[in-house]
Amino acid sequence: VSGASGRVRGGTSTPHQRYARIGWIFTAPALLVVAGVTLFPIVYSAAMSFSHVTVTANGFRLSGATTGNYTTLLESGRWRHALLFTVLYTIGTVLVETVLGMLVALVLERLTAGRGWMMALLLLPWAMITVVSGELWAYIYNGVYGVFTALWHGVFGTTVNVLGTPLPAILAMSFADVWKTTPFVAVIVLAGLLMLPGDVVEAARIDGAGAWTVFWRVRLPLLGPTLTVAVLFRVLQAFGIFDLPFVLTGGGPGNATESLALLGWRAMFQDLRFGPGAAVATSTAVLVLIGCLVFLRAFRSQVGDDEVTV
């Protein structure tokens, strides 16, 4: 038996083919797991959003095609608000986090002592369970005994209930988000900064470029790919935001902080309106996909098109 298989492997195929086959054997398990758990559900979700969904005793079943779920969506002020909120929230927080993250990374880069400890401290908010940070900020913002409320009273002499009014609630939630994820951006940018070729920067300095010019004309362009990936990851994470409004504001006051993910989840798992819920989920995924395609070039430059040969 071993002789036969040995002859097939060793005799008729070149080493190149053999390594290619091994490559597929090594890749297949991971691809199967990813495809099974994500690809099938994505397709199913899309099908569900175009179907009449009937809730049954033990779940739901699909009966007949329709575009009604999307009509419901487009006519719903709540969905339009969730879309607007999610888009503005994403743009706002990612912008602030990127600029702040850059600044923090530049500071850390120049730090002569304790950089490792700073890094560890910065990774702690990132490693925190988002639900926990939601509870923590809800306590901080609490209108009666929150420390923010007390500080505000100390400075301005008035009482304030941040989470009770729409715009302040949105800003408060953004601040909690900035606190938690700026460190992540900073650490990635710092990693990128440390990788920059020192000789290029040095050459620019010798040519008489000031710190400002070196930063804008030399280092920032070199940092481009790293920054793009960090921003992309943040944009797509922020676009799917769920945990923070679920705990911090419950989507309120009213529906002021209800994100697309929260709306979709509530429609499906609280109101059992699976059709419209699937439409929310699928349209969110499509928007993400469009975002991905726009950034595909950035991905390409990161991944590299060169395929490996032996």
């Binding site: 007390a150 790293t226 991905f299």
Partner: protein, 288 residues
């Protein structure tokens, strides 16, 4: 991190105090305070009694108590939640590291046709919002009887985190000198043996980074855990903490005690591997 050692231009020696008060150090101090203050507030509030936690804030607890901690474990089932999180996160991380190492090696080093396209597709899949998968996965897990189970959630987490891990490992494997594995091949070592005994030791920082990222993502995940494991016996830490208390009362003391405990494993991991995380990212975030 080798690129870090940029030799500073020679400067006049300055007074130690002036050097300590240099603006970068002050800015770093501000950043540290900004990051640490809410964490301090969480930890300190976990030692406050129910009366003090519901009154105007005090910087240091008047009467420290550990009642919140015992409450979390006795009155609520926080021990069960911790155990569930640990089982699911460790299992998912192990699966990710084993499958991710094989796939990362193949995509980075072996002549797999279309490996660049596969990598791009994997990364794009990993960026899909979890909400798009929630209902179908719920259905799928229900049909195979894996709702409210450790293995169902672990499988989902493994799939979500594999792409990023493969990406990091692939970039790391590419930075390992090729001569070493060629020697192993010439010596007749099987591909699996080559990966385990020659490539893996060189790529250890990448492995740590992928492991820490996966573990942290699993430990903190909420949406899927809430959807798939809703029964009290199978709740993870995040879901358990979110569902402490009722609609009318929020037991903040207990929540912060539980949160402080939940912070420990990930916090210690980050502290222990702080340099590895960054050096692993350096290879992972930038084209290898």
């Amino acid at each position: 991190v080798t690129g870090a050692t940029l030799s500073p231009p020679p400067r006049r020696p300055r007074h130690p105090l002036r050097r300590a008060l240099h603006w970068t150090n002050l800015a770093a101090l501000l950043v540290a305070l900004f990051a640490a203050a809410p964490l301090y507030w969480m930890a300190v509030s976990s030692f406050k009694g129910p009366k003090e936690i519901g009154s105007p804030p005090t910087v240091v607890p008047r009467d420290s108590t550990t009642a919140n901690y015992s409450d979390a474990f006795s009155h609520y089932h926080f021990g069960t939640y911790l155990a569930n999180s640990a089982i699911v996160s460790v299992a998912a991380t192990l699966v990710v590291l084993v499958l991710g190492t094989l796939a990362g090696y193949a995509l980075g080093r072996l002549p797999v046709r279309g490996s660049g396209a596969i990598m791009t597709a994997l990364l794009m899949i990993s960026l899909f919002p979890a909400i798009a998968l929630a209902a179908p996965l719920y259905l799928l897990m229900r049909d195979i009887g894996w709702l409210n189970s450790e293995q169902g959630l672990a499988l989902a987490y493994a799939a979500f985190n594999l792409p990023f891990a493969i990406w990091i490992l692939r970039n790391y494997f590419r930075s390992v000198p090729r001569e070493m594995e060629e020697v192993a091949w010439v010596d007749g070592a099987s591909p699996l043996r080559t990966v385990v005994s020659v490539i893996l030791p060189q790529a250890l920082p990448g492995l740590f980074t992928a492991g820490i990222f996966t573990f942290t993502a699993c430990w903190t995940e909420f949406l899927m855990a809430l959807t798939l494991n809703n029964a009290d016996d199978y709740r993870t830490t995040a879901v358990g903490i979110a569902l402490f208390g009722s609609q009318y009362t929020v037991p903040y003391g207990t929540i912060f005690a539980a949160a402080t405990v939940a912070m420990l494993p990930v916090g210690l991991l980050v502290l222990a591997f702080r340099r590895t995380v960054v050096s692993g990212l350096t290879a992972g975030a930038v084209k290898g």
